[in-house]
């Protein structure tokens, strides 16, 4: 017990950051699961964070209400943004969401109510570790159940082939917007919790590098199953500590190792780290398949 409390006194904030990053990665996972590459989820987190922070600091709204409001406002913006931008595909969608994110960041720098470049301060630090992880469990449960519902199958179909999906009767616009909105909701929730973890949030935390980091969590962990992003976020957020543990302290080397891991994963594990742990049933079946065909 004493050891545990020691662990938390040293690594408590790391554990919290892992949780927040995992939630953010899950928000991107939802969008990716419907085949849409969004670089706007960091901005949605910012919207959620600023909304919740402003509500608690300026208007004395209770913590839980502010979380809900932050998530809902982010979801609403996601919905409104999704309708026009989801006509775009691939790299064009990525860039539209990216420029949206930049506009949000610049707005946060310039507006008075957001506290400008110095950031928004004075949030009560109500977010507790257990609560973060409770939320993660809730979101994971939701996503796991979602996967085999009509919505989940529709996301999967759209990700695999949008044209074929629409020919099967799937309203692709509706489901893409839905994925985008759910993603924005989760991101907004994570942002709102983050705002009340830290006392302060600044515009820079929700910029381009944050958006890219989320993408990296999903890719390194694996974006085909819900636990992939969680794994990716946990590993990469803890990586600096792990490296410090094995004696690597210099910043540039840590950064280099980060990049190297990402490169190795994308080159050799296209489905992410989770493919290391997944049971090989389908892989075996495919081997059988080629043997069968070879004999024909």
């Amino acid at each position: 017990m004493a050891q545990l409390s020691y662990f938390f006194s040293v690594y408590g904030s790391l554990v919290n950051f892992i949780g927040i990053n995992a939630l953010l990665a899950l928000s991107l996972y939802v969008t990716l699961s419907a085949g849409q590459l969004s670089l706007g989820n960091a901005a949605f987190a910012g919207i959620g964070g600023y909304t919740a922070g402003i509500l608690t600091t300026r208007f004395g709204v209770p913590y839980m209400m502010s979380l809900l409001a932050g998530a809902l406002v982010a979801a609403l913006v996601g919905f409104l943004l999704g309708m026009p931008v989801l006509r775009l595909r691939g790299v064009f969608l990525a860039m539209a969401t990216l420029s949206f994110g930049e506009v949000v960041r610049i707005a946060a720098v310039n507006l008075k109510i957001t506290g400008g470049a110095e950031g928004l301060m004075g949030m009560p630090t109500h977010t507790k570790t257990w609560f973060i992880y409770l939320m993660i469990i809730g979101v994971c449960y939701f996503l796991a159940k979602l996967r085999y519902s009509s919505v989940g199958w529709s996301f999967e179909s759209i990700r695999e082939d949008e044209t074929a999906a629409s020919a099967m009767g799937i309203n692709t616009t509706y489901y893409k917007t839905l994925a985008f909105t759910i993603g924005a909701f989760i991101a907004g929730l994570a942002g709102a919790m983050y705002a009340h973890l830290n006392y302060i949030i600044t515009p820079g935390e929700f910029g381009f590098s944050a958006a890219v980091n989320l993408l990296i969590y999903c890719i390194v962990g694996g974006s085909r199953v819900w636990y992939g992003p969680v794994l990716g976020a946990a590993l990469l957020t803890a990586l600096p500590e792990i490296l410090r543990g094995i004696g690597v302290t210099a910043g540039p080397i840590r950064m280099f190792v980060n990049g190297l891991i990402l490169l190795i994963v994308i080159l050799f594990l296209p489905n992410g780290l989770v493919s290391l742990f997944q049971h090989r049933k389908t892989a075996d079946a495919s081997v059988l398949a080629c043997v069968g065909i070879g004999e024909e």
Binding site: K145, S150, A164, G169, A285
Partner: protein, 255 residues
């Protein structure tokens, strides 16, 4: 008449892909659509299924105008299709492909699942059984757990038909369903088409294999350069001089 195609025209840029195409597809029949490569057959199927829009003209399905409908609405009216260049979901297994195809007929609501209601599991078992039955019907029962990308060419074509059948369509549009198939496989597909029609399904069939088309279809429409040359029974179409010339090249030239 289940499907009435009336004066459909489609331009791509300045290029005319279809010009004034009109014909009807009788309910409960197999209707063939033939013509040389590049005649506009696939463009027409794309328009029928709502994936492409027509530049002008109209389409009626059971007297309902559908030419402005997006693909998912056309599908909801009971139209399913396969693709010439096979558009399966490659990393999903055969069974999962068919399950995805059940979208319109097998609601899997989220809320009961979140609450772990007991009915969900039973319902899911019924749906999965239905998908499995369709796989067995196209002869892929033993391939249920294989990712689609590891199936042979002919198996993938059959899986595409299975996925289309999963939505229980009234009208099935098949774009070259037996291209690249071995003879035995081809016979299997022919038998499948016959049994589907016996159950009341209507089929519009694009195919290059003449024997296959002649054998199955009650009516055939011949397309060349985006226009209909003729529509008629296999025998009528076979006698048509323009068809012989357009489809086979001038027979008097070197023969």
């Amino acid at each position: 008449m289940l499907l009435d195609i009336n004066n459909i025209t489609r331009y791509f840029g300045g290029l005319c892909a279809l010009e004034g195409v009109s014909f009807g597809v009788e309910s409960g029949s197999v209707h063939g659509l033939i013509g040389p490569n590049g005649a506009g057959k696939t463009t027409l199927i794309n328009i029928l299924s709502g994936i492409t829009s027509a530049t002008s003209g109209n389409l009626r399905l059971d007297d309902q105008r559908i030419e402005t409908f997006p693909a998912h609405k056309v599908a909801a009216l009971g139209v399913a299709r396969t693709f010439q260049n096979i558009r399966l979901f490659p990393v999903l297994t055969s069974l999962e492909n068919v399950i995805a195809g059940q979208h319109l007929v097998a609601p899997r609501p989220l809320l009961p699942r979140l609450m772990c209601l007991s009915g969900t599991r039973r319902q899911e078992a019924v749906y999965q059984k239905q998908s499995m039955d369709i796989l067995v019907r196209v002869g892929l029962g033993d391939r249920a757990d294989f990712p689609a990308q590891h199936l042979s060419y002919g198996e993938r074509r059959r899986l595409e038909i299975a996925r289309a059948l999963a939505s229980r369509p009234r009208l099935l549009l098949l774009d070259e369903p037996v291209a690249g198939m071995r003879r035995e496989e081809m016979l299997g597909v022919a038998a499948l088409i016959r049994s589907l029609v016996r159950e009341g399904m209507t089929i519009l069939l694009i195919e290059h294999n003449m024997a296959f088309v002649m054998d199955l279809c009650s009516q055939i429409t011949v397309l060349n350069f985006g226009s209909v040359i003729t529509t008629g029974s296999p025998a009528e179409v076979g006698m048509h001089p323009e068809v012989i010339e357009a489809y086979l090249g001038k027979s008097d030239h070197h023969a």
